[in-house]
Symmetry: C2
Subunit: 195 residues, 2 copies
């Protein structure tokens, strides 16, 4: 069984971007156009987009797509699931880039964007899963975001880059201990009820 | 520990409705206005809405909200997580209606709406979770929907009412065997890329 720290392990994200605008097609296409997605395998259908590759690129790309859409000022949300190590998974539809440096940081460095996010970690097949979830919720209080509980998730408030850093670190730490992990997230920017 | 079949057990759903329209506020408010949500506890913030109560009502209400929004003909999506039996959960913020009959069926009976949906089941703290997931994927092939695999979920295509029936039955059957279960879903109607 491939260790999660090996060169061959990979992460995926199945996500959808929701611009609350009549112009949603253009907003989605423009955001994708601004983002370098060459470091992952990618496929889109009418329901969602799936990307698979090295963890660093999967988080880099989802963050960049969200930020480029949110910078339009429109109310934009994104929702998805990150996954690693499902026993049913295959090595089909994956691209493991030679590169280890995320490619989209320089273009989003100047974008300051506040957002609200709800995320939930699912360490699968694991007796002590509650402990592992709780550990990341507690650690997130030191990741530059405000942390509060909701009934089925944990809420994070702050800058989008700190939110994605929190998602990335939580996921990374749990998958070092548990081979099959998924993490769901919903992030919302420029909501008329949160200005 | 309360059995899941007891009068006191309850289910929740944290979900967001995404109308891809400049008019999204009106579409959301109109859909909510059409739906009888008196059978559950409900709270909304800028990121999502949470409802908690009897399973029958939680599925009835999420289905009705989605259908009333989708009938506008706009591209509408909904994404969320159903949950039951989390060890951390409390009995706060729950309403257990005396009623057992769903209240929104008559108004949506005539709405025929095709959609695409991706869902994933998470039976928590359970060694044989893959088996339980696979069982529901197989049973779904006989629930009036087309079933196909995706990397991090299972795809269902068909009428919205058959899709929600599939989500409801899958969730119900797994929670009878596993006390803590969550299920994520994303459903999309009237997408320009799926007409
Ligand atoms: Ca591009």
């Amino acid at each position: 069984m491939t260790s999660n720290n090996s060169k061959n392990s990979f992460v995926g994200c199945e996500f959808t971007l929701y611009p609350m605008s009549d112009n949603f097609v253009d907003i989605i296409l423009s955001a994708l156009d601004e983002v370098d997605t060459s470091t992952v395998w990618m496929e889109t259908d009418d329901v969602s987009t799936c990307i698979r590759g090295k963890m660093v690129h999967v988080y880099d790309i989802t963050q960049a797509i969200f930020l480029h859409a949110a910078k339009t000022g429109k109310h934009v949300a994104m929702s998805g699931t990150f996954g690693v190590g499902c026993p049913c998974d295959t090595t089909d539809d994956v691209f493991l880039s030679e590169e280890d440096e995320p490619k989209n940081i320089s273009k989003i460095k100047e974008i300051n964007q506040k957002a609200g996010c709800k995320f939930a970690l699912y360490p699968m097949g694991e007796k002590d899963y509650i402990e592992k979830i709780q550990e990341q919720v507690n650690l997130s209080k030191h990741r530059g975001v405000e942390v509060s509980p909701t009934h089925y998730a944990t809420r994070l408030d702050g800058d989008v880059k700190d939110i994605f850093k929190t998602l990335h670190e939580s996921f990374d730490q749990v998958q070092q201990a548990v081979s099959h992990v998924t993490m769901t997230f919903t992030i919302s920017a420029n909501s008329p009820s949160n200005q």
